[in-house]
């Protein structure tokens, strides 16, 4: 099974974390850019052959967005906008190829991770956001690697059996 809701939601969450470290004036335009791009791309006819490439693009986008959280000084406004455009593109494409519009409705609100993250920054606890961003990076790297590896079936006994 390969649904689009989870990758799109993770892309959205990673973007939310990244935007929280951008200037406040860039928040609204970034969120709108992301939502509009994702919605437009989700209705485009994308060739089925691009499926693996699109999923890989989602994982790379998550790593890129989550990594910006660790930048000194955070993102500037143009970079936040570029990241939003990129995230919207990949999450929309994933939904277009492997999901439904309901998946997009589930994924888009995850960008509002922006608000708890911004609160953690304001409370001088940006480390919480940085720890979460590192988990997102770990998840994305593992998911990207899975595309290239023969993984074991889930019905085999595990190390606790």
């Amino acid at each position: 099974m390969r649904g689009a809701a989870l990758p799109a939601a993770l892309v959205s969450t990673a973007l939310g974390l990244a935007i929280a470290f951008a200037p406040r004036s860039a928040w609204m335009s970034s969120v709108v850019t992301f939502a509009v791009t994702a919605t437009v791309v989700a209705v485009l006819p994308i060739p089925r052959g691009c499926l693996d490439c699109v999923f890989f693009g989602c994982w790379v986008s998550i790593v890129a967005s989550a990594a910006t959280v660790h930048l000194r000084g955070g993102l500037n406004a143009p970079a936040a906008m570029a990241l939003s455009l990129n995230s919207g593109l990949w999450s929309g494409a994933a939904v277009a190829l492997a999901g439904s519009h309901v998946d997009l409705l589930k994924a888009l609100p995850c960008v509002f991770a922006l608000f708890p993250t911004a609160l953690s920054v304001r409370l001088r606890m940006p480390m919480a956001a940085k720890v979460v961003s590192s988990w997102l990076i770990a998840m994305a790297i593992l998911a990207a690697t899975l595309q290239f590896l023969p993984v074991t079936p889930g019905y085999m006994p595990d190390h606790l059996d």
């Binding site: 989870l6 590192s134 899975l146 074991t152 889930g154 019905y155 595990d158 606790l160």
Partner: protein, 197 residues
């Protein structure tokens, strides 16, 4: 009114349900729910994760947040080694040893230098990742499984850190060291079992 309520329920069902839900967390060990649940079902992994957070809280900054960052990151590397079937020393013994050592460090209130704490945690993360990489399901949503698994691991670290904050309370230090002792004891038992097998 009833019509409105029906409409609301219908919209909620459309938003929250999907055709894939029928296969997630049931039957084959796959999907986000299954991956999220997995660390909670094995005492070895559960105790090691909590210990990492607890020891980090014990050691203070920067390890309080460095250890929960290092563990999942290196665990992913271990998982890849497991999926590639790269030969490793006995993984069961390594996992049991991680519970013993981390519990022991907390019990003894070991103030390891930053590099040593990072090295210890990273080494054990390889064993935990390897074991779970070997059993990562391909049959039913391995991506959902791995996301759930990493998230649950991280949350267990956070739980360990919260337990570690007990040290700031009167007699908290004794309580956390006692918890470490119990974890270390269980680790010794797991190691005995792993070597015996």
């Amino acid at each position: 009114m009833i019509r409105r309520a029906r409409k609301g329920v219908l919209i909620a069902m459309l938003l929250l349900g999907s055709s894939a839900d029928a296969h997630v967390g049931t039957g084959l060990a796959g999907g986000f729910a299954s991956g999220f649940e997995h660390p909670f079902t094995g005492i070895d992994h559960l105790l090691a994760m909590i210990s990492v957070g607890l020891w980090g809280a014990f050691l203070g900054r920067p390890l309080i947040y460095a250890l929960p960052v290092i563990f999942p990151a290196v665990m992913v590397g271990g998982a890849v080694l497991g999926m590639l079937n790269v030969p490793m020393p006995p993984v069961e013994a390594g996992i049991a040893l991680s519970v013993l050592v981390l519990g022991g460090c907390i019990a003894l209130s070991a103030k390891a230098p930053i590099w040593a704490a990072c090295l210890i945690v990273a080494t054990f993360a390889v064993f935990h990742g390897y074991a779970h990489g070997k059993e990562l399901p391909s049959a039913a949503d391995p991506i959902g499984y791995s996301v759930g698994f990493v998230l649950a691991t991280g949350l267990l670290h956070v739980f360990g850190i919260c337990v570690g904050f007990l040290t700031h309370r009167p007699r908290g230090l004794i309580a956390t060291r006692a918890i470490g002792g119990v974890i270390g004891g269980i680790g010794a038992w797991l190691l005995y079992k792993a070597i015996g097998d």
